[in-house]
């Protein structure tokens, strides 16, 4: 606007005073304006961007995003709002973002802005780039009464029943070193099957993804799953996904996060057990 105003003023001065040099300055301003309008279009049109992130991300937690733009676009600023990446120059490098919302990301919108090299007129462009990404919420801290488990719980769903003398063919990992140390007799542990208590967590969402109450509920569910898994319980997560209701066990917190990233409002599978913990988006 300033350039246009100055150019207009110079034209008026030249027309009234007869000063040819002022017209030259006006022409230079006009040239500057033309260059200012045209020049940013070139790098913006040339912009090709490839971005890569680790496969899993968590809402609000720092996420490294590697940018690999094409050449000659260093004067373009880009941002990826969905991944919480603010304006950075479109140059090869690693930027830090923080995803702002939970979900399964396949493509992200990239805002590109360019006013280079004069900064007089800015052009913007929006491009969509592929970026397979699972974003899950940060688990909320929660307190819950969980069933107690046997203290001598071994690996897997087994509990140590006793110790017997070693027989050839027994795996080395079963050797019970304390009794060998005490008695000098090589012994191995014996197991019996143990049915871990199963905690069923049902997530009932009522509202669009991104709604604060929905995200809070998912966050509570993630916290619950984490606590239960750390306590040694088997967890079965009941959710609704875009493809339909899903009822499946969850082995790790990451597994739970991925399931919860895909959770949407919808009907849960039938037959919810009586002791299931139901996390609802309409209650806090």
């Amino acid at each position: 606007m300033l350039v246009v105003a100055l150019g207009g003023a110079f034209l008026a001065i030249a027309r009234t005073s007869g000063a040819g040099w002022v017209l030259v300055l006006m022409a230079l301003l006009a040239g500057l304006l033309v260059a200012g309008i045209v020049a940013p279009v070139v790098p913006l049109a040339r912009l090709r961007l490839h971005a890569q992130t680790p496969p899993d991300a968590e809402v609000g937690r720092p996420l490294e995003i590697e940018l690999r733009p094409g050449a000659g676009t260093g004067s373009v600023l880009v941002r990826i709002p969905a991944l919480g990446l603010g304006w950075v120059r479109a140059r090869p490098g690693v930027a830090e973002g923080a995803p702002t919302c939970r979900g399964i990301v396949e493509q992200v919108l990239v805002d590109a802005w360019c006013a280079a090299p004069l900064g007089l007129v800015a052009w913007t462009r929006r491009l969509r780039i592929d970026m397979p990404e699972l974003v899950y919420v940060a688990p909320a801290a929660c307190v819950v009464d969980l069933p107690s488990l046997p203290e001598r719980l071994g690996r897997g769903d087994e509990v140590v029943r006793g110790v017997r003398r070693y027989e050839p063919g027994d795996p080395q990992r079963l050797v019970h070193w304390p009794s060998l140390a005490r008695t000098g007799v090589l012994s191995v542990r014996e197991f019996e099957a143990f049915d871990r208590p199963v905690l069923t967590v049902a997530v009932m969402l009522d509202g669009p993804a991104g709604a604060p109450e929905v995200e809070a509920a998912v966050s509570r569910a993630a916290g619950l799953v984490g606590v239960a898994l750390r306590a040694g319980l088997a967890v079965e997560l009941w959710t609704a996904e875009l493809a339909g209701p899903v009822r499946a066990p969850v082995r790790t917190a990451l597994d739970g996060g991925r399931r919860l990233a895909a959770a949407v409002a919808g009907p849960l599978p039938d037959g919810l057990p009586a002791g299931a913990l139901v996390v609802r988006s309409d209650e806090r």
Partner: protein, 707 residues
């Protein structure tokens, strides 16, 4: 002021975002100094101001940089006081200097701007301040542009433009750094830095080229700088030296021939300056012309070209022209001096105004050169002498540096109007009897064959205008313009000799012949002398009049319209010309200054244009080549090319060593069963012995959008 208000004031004036880029600051400083220098060279301010500006502005920028993060409230208060002092000085200069019009306020105003720029240089801590300083420097440069009447400003404008462009680019980079978060770099920093610097230099050069091309295009079509009567005009008289013969012609450039000398001019020609012209005297001997050189004698700011007339002669004795009624009328007054209509003329029913500001570059005659007929004059002296033909003489010598403005009214005529201007009593209708007698008189030396020639040439011309044109055409065809002619023999009529013997001569002889031929037909005519408009400088917008532009032409009487100029030496259109665009004549002007033929300059422009066309052609050709490559290549290669197009749209270019499968995988396409099948089909077609079936190929093609 309460302490609360003071702290608020401090907070408001605190530097928000100090600028750290030394390069940006240095370039802005250089641009400001260049702009200030442009104003200083226009004789603005004295030595003290020049030293203060040239030394003070860089010092101010250094101080601003060093203290950019500090509290600068005290300094700001000091600068504000300094500004007030500068404004007070400006007001005093306006009042004390007797600046009665806007034009006279230009110099004090320019000084005020220089002081403001100097003081502002001490307070540019942030990017915004620096950009403001850059805009102020542009305003300074425009002030220099208003004051400048020469091409010398080009150097300042050129250097400033480059500096300003670099400054703007650096400002934008600084803004980008501020707006964007840092990236963790990868690769060799040193190599990248060098590459970026080269890229930056390349982009600045490219943008400069775009700016210059666009500016040139705008300048070529922009309306020309004009003059308007709404503003007052510059008036300058470097020294008031009265002429020894008030009301008479004084022309020191003629040396001993100066008619103002006590002996009335000895006629020896001694002491004549190389730019002196014999016609600017009280008589004109057509047998001697001299060869005025190419010295710049004056610059004329006017919205249209014209004949800058000095005076006219109406009495012819066969060899010498004189002005018979040399009784000038004294006109007194302060600028603008309004003139009465010329005694020998008539007020035309339709006229067009022409404002001419003349900048005298050489000490010359005391004639005010302007298009006929002058109506108003801005001049530094209160007395002028107006001759019956409307010509103006001053009572002071016009030395180099004198500036005056004349507003003239020119009849707005064309061929049809002049053909219709017949007059009830013949061609001399409306002229006073004495004037008629003077402007129809012919000496005894005028021969019969001259009269017969006039009659024969105009036999088929029914009107005065047609007769004039017929005579012009005859002269154009039958005589040759030449400065190398033998001396006129004693006792012969100059016109007869020219028309029937030598048939070669210069403008005085050609115009004199025209006057004599017209008078022999009973058409009133007289000889006018002055300058042709001169070459227009497209940058200053001024006509640059050189001594060699001194000229003589014919004025012919048309009843009801007055004296209309005709130039038999060159074909000159009747209606007042206008300058079409600011850049009119730019190529020829540059070609002359750069000592290259206009054709070469046009050739360079054509080459640039050809380069652009060539680049476009190359790009188009490459596209066509790609298209045909796609068409002719084996099917797997064609499919891969189309896959590359899909990838480019998604922002991922295929690496040279990437196979179709790995590229499709990188694009995230292989999660889809259809894409997996398509890639297998392509691989089969490329590497297996048997070709895939048509159905599979069609499915694969459908995925990449075509065959």
């Amino acid at each position: 002021m309460s302490s609360g208000a003071l702290s608020r004031l401090r907070a408001v004036n605190a530097t928000k975002h100090p600028e750290d880029s030394v390069a940006f600051r240095a370039v802005v400083c250089a641009a400001v100094v260049v702009a200030a220098h442009a104003v200083l060279r226009e004789d603005v301010g004295g030595l003290a101001l020049a030293v203060a500006v040239v030394a003070g502005i860089p010092a101010g920028f250094v101080l601003s940089h060093r203290s950019r993060r500090r509290n600068r409230f005290g300094l700001k208060v000091l600068l504000a006081v300094g500004m007030l002092v500068a404004v007070a000085q400006f007001v005093v200069a306006l009042g004390g200097g007797g600046a009665s019009n806007l034009a006279q306020a230009q110099q004090p105003l320019a000084e005020l701007f220089l002081w403001v720029q100097l003081l502002h240089a001490f307070d540019v801590p942030s990017r915004r301040d620096l950009l403001f300083a850059l805009v102020s420097s542009l305003v300074l440069l425009s002030i220099a542009g208003v004051l400048s009447v020469s091409t010398a400003l080009a150097l300042n404008v050129g250097v400033w433009a480059v500096l300003a462009l670099v400054a703007i680019v650096l400002a934008h980079r600084s803004e980008l750094d501020e707006r964007s978060a840092p990236l963790a770099a990868t690769g060799t920093v040193a190599r990248r830095s060098v590459r970026r610097s080269l890229a930056a230099a390349g982009s600045v050069t490219g943008v400069l080229a775009v700016v210059l091309i666009a500016a040139g295009a705008v300048f070529a079509v922009a309306p020309p700088a004009g003059t308007a009567r709404t503003l007052s005009f510059p008036v300058e008289l470097p020294q008031v030296l009265r002429t020894p013969n008030p009301g008479g012609v004084a022309n020191p450039s003629l040396g001993d021939d100066d008619p103002a000398r006590p002996d009335g001019g000895t006629g020896t020609g001694a002491g004549r300056k190389s730019y002196g012209y014999f016609g600017f005297a009280d008589r004109l001997d057509v047998a001697t012309r001299g060869r005025p050189d190419d010295s710049l004698v004056m610059r004329v700011r006017a919205s249209a070209p014209g004949f800058w007339r000095g005076q006219t002669f109406d009495t012819w004795d066969g060899r010498i022209w004189t002005a018979s009624d040399d009784r000038p009328r004294l006109v007194r007054g302060r600028a603008p001096i309004t003139l009465p209509p010329p005694a020998d003329g008539v007020i035309a029913p339709d006229t067009v105004e022409l404002v001419q500001t003349v900048y005298v570059e050489r000490d010359g005659p005391n004639l005010l050169f302007a298009a006929a007929d002058p109506e108003q004059v801005w001049f530094g002296d209160s007395a002028l002498w107006q001759l019956p033909d409307g010509a103006l003489r001053t009572g002071v010598l016009l030395d180099r540096g004198a500036v005056y403005t004349v507003v003239s009214r020119r009849p707005r005529v064309d061929e049809s109007i002049l053909r219709a201007a017949l007059g009830a009593q013949g061609p001399a209708s409306g002229l006073a009897p004495a004037v008629r007698a003077r402007t129809l008189a012919l000496p005894r030396s005028t021969t019969t064959r001259v009269r017969a020639l006039a009659t024969a040439v105009t036999a088929d011309a029914p009107t005065t205008f047609d007769k004039v044109r017929a005579l012009e055409e005859w002269l154009r065809v039958n005589v040759r313009y030449s400065l190398d002619i033998p001396p006129l023999r004693s006792g012969v009529d100059a016109v007869d000799e020219f028309l029937f013997e030598s048939r070669a001569g210069y403008c005085e002889q050609i115009a004199s012949s025209m006057v004599v031929l017209l008078r022999s037909l009973g058409i009133p005519a007289r000889l006018a002398v002055g300058y042709v408009s001169g070459e227009r400088n497209p940058f200053t917008g001024l006509f640059e009049v050189r001594a060699s532009d001194a000229h003589a032409w014919t004025e012919v009487w048309f009843p009801g319209w007055g004296w209309i100029p005709f130039d038999p030496t060159a074909s000159v259109p009747l209606s007042p010309d206008t300058v079409g665009a600011a850049g009119e004549g730019l190529s020829s002007f540059l070609a002359e200054r750069l000592q290259v033929p206009t054709g070469a300059l046009v050739g360079v422009a054509a080459m640039l244009g050809a380069g652009v066309v060539g680049a476009s052609g190359w790009w188009f050709g490459r596209s066509v080549q790609r298209f045909w490559r796609r068409r002719r290549a084996p099917w797997p290669e064609r499919w891969l090319l189309r896959l590359e197009r899909v990838g480019r749209r998604r922002g991922r270019v295929r690496a040279p060593d990437e196979s179709a499968r790995s590229y499709a995988e990188a694009l995230g396409l292989l999660d889809d069963e259809r894409w997996r099948r398509a890639v297998s089909t392509v691989e089969t077609a490329a590497f297996a012995a048997e070709a895939p079936d048509e159905q599979a190929r069609a499915e694969a093609d459908a995925l990449v959008g075509g065959r």
